[in-house]
């Protein structure tokens, strides 16, 4: 029996999602022979398509800030660079404060955010109502406003990145779950799927909510587990709302909620479940709509008449401290982690994709090294992100 020639790649990316696709675009763009494998039938069918599309750089740590600033550059200039509309809209983000407690939290955070040079400011209730006239003015204290943040369509964006990746020479294989990481002498040699073995020098774990299972193929125990969030979309109505509105007041069943109007007119909204709903269950619950509807019409009574069209759930691959896990495996050479995006994969994707390409090609700069240090798979996970 003759041995089948094993196709060899410079890099294999596991996961054609929010991270894997822009990463493949950057890797292939740097001339690397790149293959992306996914168990689903097409791109973005894991959690990417469940994202509502919010994109902000206004985090509370320099690593995510830097990556997302770069992502915003990619999203916001895509149409002029490539001619494809990914529905980017610079509507900004507003975190509202209706109580002193949230006012204090947000203002403390603001100091940190400003220190990183972010364009974000405190608006008092009067200024905020000028920005968002439909906010419930009763008890409104004010809020932070970051005008450079925005939104885009995850569905269109991932396809734009996908087409660009193909253009750059990346290959994609769908309906091919990875069953084995082929390791020779402590070094990545490739991966196995039901179609056989694909050889590679580097394998990137960008498997999102399933990154734990892929890590285990390389002997790593990644502290990534999915938290199931529920979202919904409405009918499209005439434009009435610019920023993403985030209310961080905890309530029964949810630790916060947020909504924005997409550029095409639909309102999208989401909650963070409290307590977390761990696991892979993405079946619709009866509790979500009543819970979120009450909170939304309280903050914005005008929303009571907007028709809800569809609900769904998506998985947030959470880490214990709320930060991604990015970096080389110490056990298996050439096994690179890009996991645990904690629900921010869509906004981190383009920036992180470029970073991964620099890391793989040995071109990481100092600021990349700082990010890698913060996101190290081997860090102490006991810290907590200030604002999730």
């Amino acid at each position: 029996m003759t041995e089948r020639a094993i196709p060899h790649y410079d890099v294999i990316v596991i996961g054609a999602g929010s991270i894997g696709v822009p990463a493949a675009m950057s890797l292939a763009g740097m001339g690397l022979r790149t293959l992306v494998l996914d168990s689903a039938a097409s791109v973005g069918q894991g959690s990417n398509k469940h994202a509502i599309g919010g994109i902000r750089a206004t985090h509370s740590d320099p690593a995510k800030i830097r990556l997302c600033l770069r992502s915003i550059e990619v999203f916001s200039t895509w149409k002029q660079r490539y001619g494809e509309d990914i529905e980017w809209y610079k509507g900004g983000y507003v975190f509202v404060a209706y109580r002193e407690r949230e006012e204090t939290t947000l203002k403390n955070l603001l100091t940190v955010q400003k220190s990183y040079g972010l364009n974000i400011d405190w608006l008092d209730s009067f200024q905020l109502l000028e920005r968002i006239p439909d906010l419930n003015p009763n008890d409104l204290i004010g809020g932070t406003y970051s005008p450079d943040d925005g939104s885009a369509s995850p569905l269109l964006a991932i396809h734009a990145f996908y087409r660009q990746a193909l253009q750059n020479g990346a290959e994609f294989r769908f309906n091919e779950p990875v069953t084995e990481l082929v390791i020779r002498s402590g070094k990545v040699a490739g991966v196995r799927t039901r179609s056989g073995v694909y050889g590679a020098d580097v394998v990137i774990n960008a498997a999102g909510a399933w990154a734990g299972q892929i890590g285990r193929l390389g002997g790593m125990e990644l502290p990534v587990r999915p938290d199931s969030h529920e979202s919904a979309i409405t009918e499209a109505v005439a434009h009435f709302l610019d920023p993403m509105v985030v209310d961080i007041r905890p309530d029964t069943g949810s630790s916060n909620f947020y909504f924005y109007q997409h550029i095409t007119g639909q309102l999208m909204f989401c909650i963070t479940p409290s307590p977390n709903i761990w696991g892979y269950d993405t079946r619709e619950t009866s509790s979500f709509l009543p819970m979120v509807a009450r909170r939304m019409v309280e903050v914005m009574p005008r929303l009571k008449n907007i028709r809800v069209r569809r609900t769904w759930r998506g998985l947030y691959p959470m880490t214990p401290d709320g930060f991604p896990i990015v970096g080389w495996s110490r056990e298996v050479d050439g096994f690179l982690q890009a996991a645990g995006m904690c629900g921010q994969g869509f906004m981190l994707g383009p920036g992180l994709g470029e970073l991964l390409a620099r890391v793989v090609t040995g071109n990481a700069v100092d600021s990349d090294q700082q990010i890698l240090a913060m996101f190290s798979p081997y860090r102490n996970f006991s810290g907590q992100e200030q604002l999730k």
């Binding site: 689903a40 039938a41 097409s42 791109v43 973005g44 069918q45 398509k49 439909d134 419930n136 009763n138 569905l155 269109l156 991932i158 396809h159 769908f174 409405t234 009918e235 499209a236 109505v237 005439a238 009435f240 007119g265 269950d281 079946r283 619709e284 619950t285 009866s286 509790s287 709509l289 009543p290 979120v292 509807a293 009450r294 939304m296 019409v297 309280e298 009574p301 005008r302 929303l303 009571k304 008449n305 907007i306 028709r307 809800v308 069209r309 569809r310 609900t311 769904w312």
Partner: protein, 725 residues
């Protein structure tokens, strides 16, 4: 002497209007003011405004009915391509009939018109109304119930009756303002078994009877104007009760009796105002009592298309023709015969090529098809018409069943939601499910008898063999001629004959009936003529004039359209003209229930072949001199998001196989209707492109299955109107 073709009482709406009131601005022109079967209720006139003009509506009618009554059929324009929008489903499922009513965007087919209401077209996206006060919210009520039935049509009602008899606590929800489902639109007599399922009774009357029975049982709660929105993973069903209160219902057993939805077709011009599904058309005509068309063309020769054509004729609408892609119509032959006897040409092995017109249908182009159902170039013909009725089959409304199964609920389905068949089968299936559910709940109920399952199979069966028509050799006396030559599940004639002389094998009612008497045994009671649901029995009476016998023919048009002394054209079962005949008498019999019997005198040579009276002038059904070419590529697959067949086909040809991905790129299936219309069309495009089903990944389905304002989930009380819009 009056001439023939008087079945249609008005050529145009204006003529009718002038004959009644004369003042064009005063009264709506497109109302149905007389109907052979439906009684026209007296309703109060109320004023409303359309784009600032004062018009009249009738109290209790929907906004869409009020607009159609004035010939207004364009309700706005789509935000994406400014295409004209109007009625499509007339069933609250899509959002294409949205208008602004006093500033609020509403579904005009569900929202009732109010006195003084100001209605504006919806141009592009609606402004979300501004709200000044913080509304009071309240928690959602949770209701536990042994049985929840979704849908108050024939299946749901029949199941509720069985459960009611046994005292099982049941909630029956239906989104309409009255029970009956699609029965309330069916003016014709039903087929099926007279013993098992009300055969011979009109659908509208079956609806009333079943509703009255359900009302007798205290254990059955009926929630009208209540829409099921979703089945959730915690086994609760979300229902918008009374169009207002969002309630979660946790049943021990769920029965899905949600009926069917219509399939649609992709062809150029397929979304022009004037292209309707049969359900929408029947709703407008038989519920709203408006004429949405003057000249109708029908696509699809199943029972739905055939019956809708007959209903159109009864409502005074001209039917220009019917196309069917198969070599034979799929519906019952007696339904087909009824239509051709009225003077409606049926084009088998033909398909619709395009609907033509700028902002509305002005003509249709059809063509002969080859063995692969592709139009044959050069065979095109066009017909003038203002409406196109699409009746190309039904699919079960099964999203609730599949979600409930996925979530491990005890769920049953009945009627069209389980398997597409006639309403008679749905009635019987509901009855069986009711008993099965009672047993499932541990009630001491006898097992459903095996022969019931046999009966349901017979009722569900497709039309069977057609036998050549055998006319009696007798030329004297009096006897019925039975023009019913196809095996269909139907037996009322066997119970109608006062002498018991019409025989159908009761062990299988699909067998064709035969007359067992001789020329002297018939008493000429006319019950078989007036009572056959297929209008397929005549009586030929040679006794007075053996050379020019008297033939009694069933006739279901208004009495005013035919009188003694008129001359009419008589036709055979195939619609062939036999000759003219004098009307000797027009009568009704007590048992006949609105079917007239017209007696004509004809030569004995063809007396037995006479099967009907032409009611439509044949010249209106002629093709245009030249066929209308449709150049624009405006075949729409997703009506809500205006996605064309061309866009989808290009992706398929580029190798796309995951419908989720096609959806993500094009937005096909992301609109208000929830991919109810385009799913089947996209699969059809894949088939046409030769892609095997095994390569295709189907799209994930998510609730809600009908759009509902966010405030309802917050328990905000909006009692006005009580409509789900």
């Amino acid at each position: 002497m009056r001439v023939a073709f008087k079945g249609l009482n008005a050529g145009t709406g204006l003529a009718l209007n002038q004959s009644i009131g004369g003042d064009l601005t005063d009264m709506s022109s497109y109302r149905i003011r007389e109907h052979p079967i439906l009684s026209i209720p007296e309703r109060k006139e109320i004023p409303f405004y359309w784009q600032g003009s004062l018009l009249e509506a009738l109290e209790g009618e929907t906004i869409s009915a009020a607009l159609f009554a004035h010939g207004i059929r364009i309700f706005g324009h789509h935000a994406k391509d400014q295409s004209p929008q109007g009625i499509f489903c007339a069933n609250g499922q899509c959002a294409q009939c949205m208008v602004l009513a006093d500033g609020q965007p509403v579904k005009s087919c569900m929202h009732l018109v109010q006195a003084g209401m100001r209605i504006e077209p919806l141009e592009g996206l609606a402004e979300l109304p501004i709200v000044h006060e913080t509304p009071a919210t309240k928690p959602v009520r949770l209701v536990h119930i042994p049985v929840l039935i979704l849908g108050g049509g024939p299946a749901g009602l029949s199941a509720a009756i069985e459960l009611g008899k046994l005292g099982v606590e049941t909630i029956l929800v239906d989104d309409k303002h009255r029970l009956g489902g699609k029965l309330v639109l069916q003016t014709h007599r039903f087929f099926g078994s007279a013993q098992a399922v009300y055969a011979g009774t009109r659908g509208i009357d079956i609806a009333s009877r079943l509703s009255e029975q359900v009302a007798q049982y205290a254990s059955v709660q009926v929630w009208l104007q209540s829409t099921a929105l979703a089945v959730f993973s915690d086994q609760k069903v979300g229902i918008l009760k009374d169009g207002n209160e969002y309630v979660l219902v946790r049943p021990d057993v769920l029965l899905v009796a949600t009926g069917a939805r219509e399939k649609f077709l992709a062809f150029p011009g397929n979304t022009l105002p004037g292209v309707y599904g049969a359900g929408a058309f029947q709703t407008l005509v038989n519920r709203d009592l408006v004429r949405p068309a003057e000249k109708l063309f029908i696509v699809g020769g199943g029972n739905v298309g055939l019956i809708a054509g007959y209903h159109a004729l009864q409502a005074g609408i001209q039917v220009i023709g019917l196309v069917e892609a198969l070599p034979e119509v799929g519906g019952y032959k007696v339904h087909r015969d009824k239509l051709v006897r009225m003077g409606v040409p049926i084009y088998t092995s033909h398909t619709v090529v395009s609907a033509n017109g700028k902002d509305k249908v002005e003509s249709v182009t059809i063509a002969r098809v080859d063995e692969k159902f592709q139009p044959i170039s050069g065979s095109e013909r066009s017909f003038e018409c203002d409406s196109l009725l699409i009746a190309v089959g039904l699919d079960p409304v099964n999203e609730f069943t599949s979600k409930a199964r996925e979530f491990g609920m005890r769920v049953y389905a009945a009627g069209d939601a389980e398997e597409i068949a006639e309403a008679s089968a749905a009635i019987f299936a509901g009855k069986i499910r009711g008993l099965e559910i009672a047993r499932d709940l541990g009630r001491s109920v006898e097992k459903v008898p095996d022969d019931w399952y046999h009966t349901i199979e017979i009722l569900r069966s497709r039309p069977g063999a057609v036998y050549p028509e055998k006319l009696p050799e007798e030329r004297s006396g009096v006897f019925p001629v039975i023009h019913c030559t196809q095996e269909i599940p139907c037996n009322p004639c066997a119970t109608l004959c006062s002498q018991g002389l019409i025989y159908i094998d009761q062990s299988d009612i699909r067998s064709v009936p035969s007359f067992m008497g001789d020329a002297s045994s018939c008493r000429y009671c006319l019950r078989c003529v007036a009572g056959c649901p297929g209008l397929a029995i005549t009586l030929v009476d040679y006794r007075q004039h053996p050379q020019t016998p008297r033939v009694a023919i069933p006739y279901e048009f208004t009495r005013q359209t035919i009188r003694k002394g008129d001359v009419v054209t008589v036709l055979d079962t195939e619609g062939n003209e036999l000759g003219t005949a004098d009307v000797l008498a027009v009568s009704t019999i007590r048992a006949a229930d609105r079917t007239c019997v017209v007696q004509v005198q004809v030569p004995s040579g063809y007396a037995q072949r006479v099967a009907g009276i032409r009611v439509q002038d044949p010249t209106i059904t002629r093709a245009m001199n030249q066929y209308v070419q449709h150049i624009q590529d405006d075949t729409i697959v997703c009506r809500c998001e205006r996605v064309s067949a061309g866009e989808i086909r290009a992706l398929i040809r580029a190798g796309y196989r995951d419908i989720n991905e096609i959806k993500a790129i094009t937005r096909a299936g992301m609109g208000a209707c929830g991919s109810k219309t385009c799913t089947a069309l996209i699969l059809r495009l894949f088939r046409d492109e030769g892609v095997p089903a095994s390569e295709i990944t189907v799209a994930t389905r998510r609730p809600l299955f009908v759009e509902v304002p966010l405030g309802r989930f917050a328990g905000i009380d909006e009692a006005k109107g009580g409509q789900n819009d």
